[in-house]
């Protein structure tokens, strides 16, 4: 069948298997090569291969320890399902990316980050252990103490070390389903960076950044910070039902938008309207967990607004030493090209000391571009600017980077590729992405 990632580029004719149990999965793995797929929310070709294995039917929760907050679950359980089951009992995800429609397996494979990376780290920090199926079809438990090497290669290893079958993750206790949100309108990039540094102690922070703005307004942003609201901070009438929040509406995008719907003008108008609306918003208030963490989830199938050809994500991180200049150069290149990113996010990362994970202390910028010749011409330039400033790239977003760029910016992957060859993993686990990038 025809298969692609969330960005709908690239796509390929793939055999999609949906095993129901470990024995069926092991039989497929021994036959390899293949790649596991969860919710298919990686943007490019990370979970895409001629033989792709859906882990959607490995979706059972196994145990929960209300003393420690440890949840043991199969890899196909989604983060949204965890929130649904455990928020009413006072538990939330320790780390969540910008969509709840991702599986535990996918979150581990990409070692996803959220708005609290600077304060609490990436997803992997809250993974106690992983049951990983290796090339021989055997399941091995990996943790910081047990098969530690394999554990560390698996966090951020893009599914290329084996198949995550189940895992133990730690949830965090919360007193409500609400977030105390503070919004700061920053008229340009310097003001935005200043706002991030001034609010570094906030648990959650991120900014929507206007990539269409130029001149004095280049990099203008709405910086959003948040804290889990304590029960006593809720309006009196909500204190008895602190976990009840208004239902997240979920309209669907009913059809593929025509290719011209997103053009430089509509992108500029949208960004202008968004900035002006938030500039006037009150600066602090309560926001429900849904719109705070998952604003795009309220619009199902939002990838269809980019039309049939799809779109590409670009996410880099620029280290702290060179971030301001790096970001300015990137924004300059985008506005010169006229490509304009519809949804752009800027975020401060904290230090990250894991073996393969994407984050590093600095600033990350996530952009999406419609699949056009203009975008295809711009992205290698953004690659080059990122590389010049000592930055690196997020493979869960990538669909088109060259193997050379990855080698030049992130030497860890060369070591990873060697490890895969030496331990016989390369012949069993491979994605279109791993082949493109020589992993």
């Amino acid at each position: 069948m025809h298969l692609s990632g969330w960005g709908r580029f690239p796509s390929l004719e793939a055999r999609l298997s949906t095993p129901r149990d470990a024995a069926a999965l092991a039989a497929l793995v021994k036959d390899g090569p293949l790649i596991a797929r969860g919710m298919g929310r990686a943007y490019g070709d990370s979970a895409l291969a001629a033989h792709t294995v859906s882990m959607r039917r490995f979706n059972r929760m196994i145990a929960f320890d209300a003393q420690t907050g440890q949840l043991i679950a199969e890899a196909g359980v989604t983060l949204g399902e965890i929130v649904t089951a455990f928020l009413p009992r006072g538990w939330f995800l320790s780390v969540t990316p910008g969509t709840q429609f991702v599986s535990i397996g996918g979150a581990i494979a990409a070692d996803v980050h959220g708005k609290n990376h600077h304060s609490e780290g990436a997803f992997g920090r809250f993974v106690d252990w992983i049951d990983l199926m290796g090339a021989d079809g055997q399941i091995q438990r990996c943790s910081p103490d047990l098969n530690a090497d394999l554990f560390h290669w698996t966090l951020g290893g893009m599914g290329l070390t084996g198949i995550v079958v189940r895992a133990a993750i730690r949830l965090k206790p919360v007193e409500s389903g609400w977030i105390r949100q503070t919004t700061i309108a920053a008229p340009n990039l310097d003001a935005a960076l200043e706002a991030f540094e001034a609010t570094y102690s906030a648990t959650y922070s991120m900014a929507w950044i206007d990539c269409a703005a130029t001149g004095d307004r280049m990099g203008r942003s709405i910086v959003m910070n948040g804290e889990h609201a304590r029960r006593g901070e809720l309006p009196v009438d909500r204190r008895f039902t602190p976990f009840d929040t208004p239902q997240h509406g979920s309209p669907r995008v009913p059809l593929d938008f025509p290719g011209f719907a997103l053009n430089p003008l509509s992108v500029r108008l949208f960004n202008e309207a968004y900035y002006q609306r938030n500039r006037r918003k009150p600066t602090t208030g309560l926001e429900a967990w849904g719109p705070f963490f998952y604003p795009l989830d309220s619009l199902r199938d939002w990838n269809r607004i980019y039309g049939r050809k799809g779109f590409m994500q670009f996410q880099c991180v620029v280290p702290l030493e060179s971030h301001a200049e790096g970001l300015r150069t990137i924004l300059g290149a985008i506005s010169r090209s006229g490509a304009g990113s519809f949804l752009a996010v800027l975020k401060r990362f904290g230090a990250q000391d894991s073996r393969l994970s994407f984050p590093m202390e600095g600033y990350t910028l996530a952009l999406d571009f419609p699949m056009t010749d203009r975008s295809l011409a711009l992205l290698p330039e953004l690659d080059r600017i990122t590389a010049d400033h000592g930055g690196r790239f997020y493979l869960a977003k990538d669909s088109r980077m060259s193997a050379q760029t990855l080698r030049d910016t992130d030497p860890r992957w060369a070591e990873f590729a060697t490890m895969r060859r030496d331990s016989g993993l390369a012949g069993h686990f491979a994605s279109a992405q791993s082949e493109r990038l020589g992993l």
């Binding site: 069948m1 059972r60 196994i62």
Partner: protein
């Protein structure tokens, strides 16, 4: 006391989705499968997610003489029985081998119908209950490609229709579900038209809605109702020449 649902053939994808749907609405769940160990993980998951009671039970649709004892041993007489037992078999094998055909007929018709009949009697004694049978569009008209399975499902459909007629004036409800194509273990690897294919979760939601709204016969995707109406009304001299 909360309501409970007994699900037969609980290992199937549709049954698993239904178990989640009913548990989400607060039902205690009784999962019955040939080997209860196969559905233990589901029971654990359901209890953990939804805080309801979830238990597993051994049930073999081919052991009709064990049905009454099985029903006696359940923790309670359930409020809802959902039969998701089904076995498609291979049409080629069913054509040439009476033994293979017999397993298909008994798994899809004899066992499910007789068990629903038994539960109908017990519901009648208590004077309420809901019986939900998962039948198939394959039972709406026999086709060369799967008429053994289709004939069994046609029998099950007729049986459910008869029960519904018999209890129409009582508080016993009978719902026939004809899911059409569903992306399940049974159809894996088949090249199904995505417009005609439902997910197990959609089937479960349609079943829950059907019970809530008191519907009798449910086609999950509305287009199937149209498709099957056309197929049923084709004159035989036309139909017999088709390849569907």
């Amino acid at each position: 006391m909360s309501a409970s649902i007994l699900i037969l053939g609980a290992r199937s994808d549709i049954a698993r989705a239904c178990a989640q749907e009913y548990a989400r609405h607060g039902y205690d769940v009784r999962l019955a499968a040939r080997d209860p160990a196969d559905v233990q993980a589901d029971a654990t998951d359901i209890a953990l997610r939804h805080g309801v009671s979830a238990t597993t039970h051994a049930f073999d649709a081919l052991q009709i003489e064990a049905f009454a004892a099985f029903a006696d041993r359940l923790p309670e007489l359930p409020d809802v029985v959902l039969c998701a037992v089904g076995f498609m078999g291979e049409q080629a094998g069913s054509q040439s081998d009476a033994r293979a055909a017999s397993v298909v007929l008994r798994s899809n018709f004899e066992g499910p119908a007789l068990f629903m009949g038994l539960m109908a009697e017990r519901f009648n004694a208590r004077s309420h209950g809901t019986l939900i049978g998962i039948s198939s569009v394959a039972g709406d008209r026999g086709r060369a490609s799967n008429y053994v399975y289709g004939a069994a499902k046609a029998g099950f459909t007729a049986f459910l229709s008869g029960l519904r007629n018999r209890f129409a004036r009582s508080a016993i409800k009978v719902i026939t579900v004809k899911p059409g194509f569903v992306a399940t273990r049974m159809t894996e690897g088949m090249d199904l038209n995505p417009r005609l294919t439902a997910s197990p979760e959609e089937v479960a939601q349609a079943i829950w809605q059907a019970q809530a709204k008191g519907r009798d016969v449910v086609y999950v995707k509305p287009i199937w109702k149209l498709v099957m109406t056309i197929i049923r009304t084709l004159p035989e001299f036309v139909f017999k020449r088709t390849r569907l």
